[in-house]
Amino acid sequence: MTRKTTGPSTVENDMTPMIDVTFQLITFFMFVLNFSEAEQDERIQLPASQLAKPAEGVLETPITMQLTATGGVLYAGEIVPVDQITTPLRREREIIVAAGKDPKQATVIVRADGRASTGDVQRVIRACQEEGFERFALRAHYEPE
């Protein structure tokens, strides 16, 4: 008895819906990708507040001062003691002045750990004031009650 042999048939799946969904997913992940992580550091645990306003737009010439719980300032990936912060601040100021901007208009973002001493935070603020900075943004985690 001979059986009629059928050749290897290729089953064609319609790939279009899968590709649609995959592109949607890629678009989603691209949008939620946060590029501002660079200025965040896991060594600092910000205090929480229910009134901390998310920054409106991009701050003009921001300078981020990150203060750790042990009282050091994270600057350019290194921990600088609070009493030596003047040198990098002066450099920041020179960069701002060279760019034709006013240090008074620059915002110093203070990202201090919740366990840091208030006195150290004040010394950092004082050092910034002595270099001519006036605007400060005390950063906190937004936490609705």
Partner: protein, 157 residues
């Protein structure tokens, strides 16, 4: 004129495999780099040099409300005093400041508050105090209270 030979419509099968490979690679990359971060916010404070040194500005009509935060040796909060009067906790501080703001009426925007903290006080308490005095949430709406906040020079190191 001889008729052109009619070409049969051919189905062109595009090989989708490389594209799908790349698309999945991209998807895995974005999934792995996804980092969910709690939103952060700012308290905007304007502090020129003269102000934090305890010098009143020329246009100041009312003396600033002085809030003193004392620390325990380990850095935790020991007590809060408003103009010398002891206050129990940040919620009472908020009520007291809300009362002062209501009494001030139209000139509430000129009210100024000076935070005087022990050197070793944990910074989280300062943020709690600023949260308590800068506004309150009523029926889901934010009511602003004191906008001008200054720091007294740090007390003993």
């Amino acid at each position: 004129m001889p008729a052109l030979p009619r070409r049969r419509l051919e189905k062109v099968a595009i090989n989708m495999t490389p594209m799908i490979d790349v698309v999945f690679q991209l998807m895995i990359f974005f999934m792995l780099t996804l980092n969910i971060i709690a939103p952060e916010g700012d308290f905007d404070v304007r502090m020129p040099l003269g102000k934090s040194a305890g010098q009143p500005t020329e246009d100041l009509q009312v003396p600033p409300i002085k809030v003193r935060l004392d620390a325990q040796p380990d850095g935790s909060l020991a007590s809060i005093r408003v103009d010398g009067r002891p206050v129990e906790g940040f919620s009472e501080l908020r009520q007291l400041v809300a009362g002062l703001v209501d009494d001030a009426g139209a000139s509430a925007g000129d009210l100024e508050l000076e935070l005087d903290c022990d050197y070793d006080l944990d910074y989280a308490n300062v943020i709690s105090a600023i949260t308590a005095v800068s506004g309150r949430i009523d029926d889901g709406r934010l009511i602003e209270m004191i906008k001008k906040i200054t720091f007294a020079p740090p007390s003993a190191e």
